[in-house]
Symmetry: C2
Subunit: 393 residues, 2 copies
């Protein structure tokens, strides 16, 4: 029997303007081709030390425990939760989207008692609701999403953080879509533990989950009654490999991805965090202006829209899949659909990392115009791009 | 204050002849630079389907559930264990090295009761001991390491597998260092669930853990009383993303690493599994002949030496670190030291994947000769290489 032939890889060139991954910066791509050394090689230890320092810069934190978990964003979420939560713990979980729901699921799998603070998918979590939950429970941990990737909402954190600490609880935050693209200041906000992912605003390949924990969070972890249920994600042992001077063996880090992360953070450091945030804000407002000129409605609550990710309502009588198919097949542009209860109802347009620029805004507006027209949606030609250009120029 | 400068990456070129990672095949490196597409892109789904098929080829299995876990080998271990083990379960864990010990630790973190079957580090696990443990317990799972990366022992599995099934238990096997380099036939051996890693005999970067489970194992997982404690590693939901036709979203796979894995498996498929095993055996016997001619003693029990990894005793009065330092700094060759109780006592020389060849054997023997001489170890010049050449030519 003849052997089946497996062809050489030839992925299409796509402009990734969905909810992540974003495209990879060429310098990051180059870093990936650097010679591999062993996970305990003295050179790799220098790479690790630089990565830790640069991650502290990105998170705006002095936290000693700041490192990338060897897994994707969801591994970061699981690490955060299984380190802070023990069996029987009350944990307040704020749910205003798909990823809040995932946090709840993980809290329960750790044996925690999840107390939900809910909000409509597309609205922020109200601090009054968090306070009520704190007053009504013994929760010592409050989990919340900074940038809800499923809705495009950017959650204000400062006041909630104050409340959480007034009740002597710890604040655990999902910054998967915000790190490196949206204003985030871990120490100033009083975030006790938060995690992110490499493939969004850092323009790095997926496979690593940066995480940072302050001493209060680490105290809780080091004084747990039972060991963290996950050996792989236990911060109190991973720290010995990543942060201690002797870099004791824990597991084999995804070495090339760490090269890539270091390079993406070096790019962020060169651009400057504040400049990066400004760039994301500017591209996003241009995009929104363009979309609104086309008559498209925003999904996320005004005033709380995430600069890295814009969620819009699929116009009535328009078929979600057709439009995204046209964007992908005719324009080479990826845009994401909705998750969970928002499936078929929204599109999510990401302008993350290197993709947050004038070219992306113009391309996606033009392509969306064409794709919508094809489906019979009425609009004035060029209206989107014209409106966006007023912000961009 | 001037900003600290972070230099461009410039890792040294090393020949990685340690316990892994191995060097990366140039075709795999090329695959890593392919354009990234989204984790739900139709093109990526084709890549996933090919990867699953090729992994079945590598594991010699028809198991439907055969896929890469999005983490390193230890994530594969944790996935295997936390899927099969529930709180209160008796689990027989065979320990004849560092990684058997890690399995025990993970069984306990899952709430399992680990029943140890021990053997000296460097010897195989005896089937009689496994039978005794099966007879004396209610264990429904037996965990064992195929190729103990810490000792270089290759464990025979067929007879143990028969015993395990006579007692209606399931066999869980660590094949981290054997997959793609040492004879392994998952279906014929009757392995119910096993996991591996991308960075050893597959010559792919670290960051993925191939795993395969048969229907008996999946039945146990699907009929658990409690959910798998790890959301990230739960095979019954990961399968919906990796193996079902609709590839439902679970998490963002490390896309570029999947490209790399597919390419490394394509290389394996082109070479042929049996041919690959022969190559590893031949390089390994040449290495052993050379080492023995130099008067170096083997650590692993004769007759059970892993063709991918040779453990040797550090000669008396020789300083572990000095020799490995010379190999690394003067010859650009990485060789691993011992782990746990073998720290400082053995060296581990890996000939894995593309590194299993004549050139590596000659280089490491020659370099080791020079490094040992520098430490005052007496040997006849060229004796190692001459002896190895007899096998190689």
């Amino acid at each position: 029997m003849a052997k089946k032939a497996y062809k050489e890889l030839r992925p299409p060139e796509r402009l990734l303007l969905g909810a992540g991954p974003s495209n990879i910066d060429p310098r990051v791509r180059k870093a990936l081709t650097s010679p591999i050394v062993e996970h305990l090689d003295p050179y790799f230890m220098e790479v690790m030390d630089d990565t830790v320092e640069l991650l502290r810069y990105a998170f705006k934190t002095k936290n000693r425990i700041t490192l990338p978990i060897s897994g994707t964003g969801s591994a970061g979420m699981e690490s955060a939760i299984c380190n802070l939560v023990e069996k029987g713990d009350d944990v307040i979980v704020c749910i205003n989207g798909f990823f809040g729901g995932r946090m709840k699921e993980m809290v329960q799998r750790c044996g925690g008692n999840a107390i939900e603070v809910k909000s409509e998918w597309g609205k922020i979590i109200r601090k009054e609701e968090v306070e009520k939950a704190l007053a009504d429970s013994n929760a010592e941990v409050v989990a919340i999403v900074h940038a809800e990737t499923s809705t495009g909402v950017l959650q204000p954190l400062k006041e909630i953080s104050k409340l959480v600490h007034q009740y002597n609880a710890l604040l655990l935050v999902d910054t998967v879509t915000s790190l490196g693209g949206c204003e985030l200041n871990v120490d100033e906000y009083g975030i006790d533990l938060c995690y992110s992912a490499s493939q969004k605003c850092l323009s790095c390949p997926p496979g690593l989950a940066p995480i940072t924990a302050n001493e209060k969070a680490m105290d809780r972890i080091r004084n747990r009654e039972a060991k963290v249920q996950s050996w792989y994600l236990d911060l109190s042992t991973i720290e010995e490999y990543w942060v201690e001077n002797n870099h004791a063996y824990h597991h084999t880090a995804p070495i090339l991805l760490v090269y890539a992360l270091r390079e993406s953070l070096r790019l962020l450091y060169e651009e400057g965090l504040e400049e990066r945030w400004r760039r994301h804000k500017k591209s996003c407002s241009a995009l929104i202006k363009g979309l609104e000129a086309m008559g498209v409605k925003m999904h996320a609550q005004e005033g709380y829209r995430c600069p890295a990710l814009t969620a819009i309502k699929v116009p009535e009588k328009i078929e979600d899949q057709n439009v995204r198919g046209t964007l992908r097949e005719e324009f080479g542009i990826t845009v994401s659909g909705g998750l969970g209860e928002l499936k078929g109802k929204i599109w999510r347009i990401g302008l993350m990392g290197i993709n947050s620029n004038r070219r992306s805004v113009i391309l996606v507006l033009e392509a969306l115009e064409q794709a919508l027209k094809k489906e019979g949606y009425p609009l004035k030609p060029g209206s989107g791009v014209a409106a966006a250009n007023k912000v961009l120029s």
